[in-house]
């Protein structure tokens, strides 16, 4: 069985929940974790993390941004910077943020740092919108 914990600096979102299957936005793309997965440590990007609780067939999802995922025989631990469930997301605000960041990115004389910053903002807003829909 797969034990799954999700923690952020501000709260412990999920503690030792038994799950059937996990989908995490990993460093090189979506990563599907099933029971018996080889020990793994990876960084996470921004995106939507999905999990299926034991005995249930519906997927629950959480929008996360950057973090780490460790898979060990003990279970899966996800350390994320932020984690928001569907109920917590303000979709209108996310859409607005996306538009704003996209517009800001049009500016031709942006510093490389700023470009990165806005790209991150876009990713984040996109993940939120994806989840909210």
């Amino acid at each position: 069985m797969l034990m799954f914990s999700l923690v952020t600096p501000e709260k412990k979102v999920i503690t030792d929940m038994e799950v059937e299957e996990l989908l995490v936005p990993a460093y090189k793309g979506q990563l599907n974790i099933l029971p018996g997965h080889a020990p793994l440590m990876t960084t996470l990007s921004v995106g939507v993390l999905c999990y299926r609780e034991k005995g249930s067939s519906t997927w629950e999802s959480v929008a996360i941004s950057w973090g780490y995922c460790e898979v060990s025989p003990k279970g899966v631990v996800v350390l994320a910077e932020t984690a928001e469930t569907k109920e917590e997301i303000d979709k209108d605000r996310a859409i607005e943020a996306l538009k704003k960041a996209q517009k800001a990115l049009m500016d031709p004389d942006l510093e490389p740092d700023q470009i990165k910053k806005f790209q991150r903002k876009i990713e984040r807003a996109q993940a939120r919108i994806d989840l909210a829909q």
Partner: protein, 298 residues
């Protein structure tokens, strides 16, 4: 001798003060609960990060400049965390005194010692003593948020990796319980190995060393540990700030409780004198009336 009117106004003014201190106590108690909640929520995250670092360090033998302890650092950066507002007992005085002692004792030891001050009280204190901070920071209690801590951490980290400092210390009030806090000086950088080892051992004892020998890393372990160490440092700063905020509310709560009690005692005392004085004046008046009447009779 104060007149009746004087005492009456004294009583009402003390009563007003008591009302304020009582309200402040309630507010602090509520804020304390929230701050405490914050710390409790943060701990699992901080522990997990530490154990991840331990895992990597144990299996991959990666060395990192942030992990190398330096025997006798020459240049240090000291972070001092205080509050913006007073009325919290010895909270700020203790920490300022400790930081200043630290400064005087180690002045000869280090060739360079810089301060990064958090909170208005530390800034004022050091300004009076002509110690120039490299940077200051305000408004901690309002929103002790992770992004804010990350900003401070990032600053320290950049300065550290550029070689400006060989060690980073943080002086803050550790939250012991609602009524007690302790001034602590912690070395944040280079990251202390003892703590890492401890987490490592704990982990090993829990699940045996068998696992994680052939851990898959994505990306390379060097890259992960770099990020993890940065994150660990930011989390440490955040934790210390949260502790300081919780300690501040705790200190204020107990200070205000004492103030409320003292005000109550003062009111009791004043009321007693007031009643005595009132009775005395009634008695004198009565005596005057009766002696007047006696005089008329005679």
């Amino acid at each position: 001798m104060a007149s009746l009117k004087d005492i009456r106004s004294r009583i009402s003014s003390v009563k007003n003060t008591q009302q304020i201190t009582r309200a402040m106590k309630m507010v602090s108690a509520a804020k304390l609960r929230r701050a405490q909640h914050n710390i409790v929520n943060l701990r699992p995250y901080a522990n997990r990060i530490l154990s991840l670092i331990g895992d990597i360090a144990a299996t991959q033998r990666v060395s990192h400049p942030l992990l190398e302890p330096i025997e006798s650092p020459k240049s240090v950066l000291v972070l001092v965390v205080t509050s913006d507002r007073g009325l919290c007992g010895g909270f700020n005085a203790n920490i300022n005194k400790f930081a200043y002692d630290f400064y005087r004792q180690n002045q000869g030891k280090y060739s360079k010692m810089d301060f990064l001050l958090v909170g208005k009280k530390a800034i004022e204190f050091f300004k009076k003593r002509q110690v120039e901070p490299v940077d200051t920071m305000l408004n901690l209690a309002k929103d002790v948020s992770y992004p804010l801590a990350a900003k401070v951490a990032d600053r320290c980290m950049t300065a550290f990796s550029q070689g400006d400092y060989e060690a980073v210390y943080l002086i803050y009030n550790q939250f012991k319980s609602a009524i007690s806090q302790e001034v602590i000086c912690e070395r944040l950088l280079p990251i202390s190995l003892e703590a890492t080892n401890f987490a490592d051992e704990e982990k090993k004892s829990k699940e045996g060393p068998a696992f994680s020998k052939d851990l898959i890393f994505e990306p390379k372990p060097e890259e992960i540990i770099e990020e993890l160490l940065n994150k660990h440092f930011a989390v440490q700063v955040y934790r210390c700030m949260s502790e300081s905020v919780a300690a501040e509310h705790g200190a204020r709560m107990s200070a205000m409780e004492n103030a409320t009690k003292n005000a109550g005692e003062m009111i009791d005392g004043l009321t007693l004198t007031y009643n005595k004085l009132r009775q005395a004046s009634i008695t004198t008046e009565l005596i005057e009336i009766t002696s007047g009447a006696e005089a008329l009779k005679a």
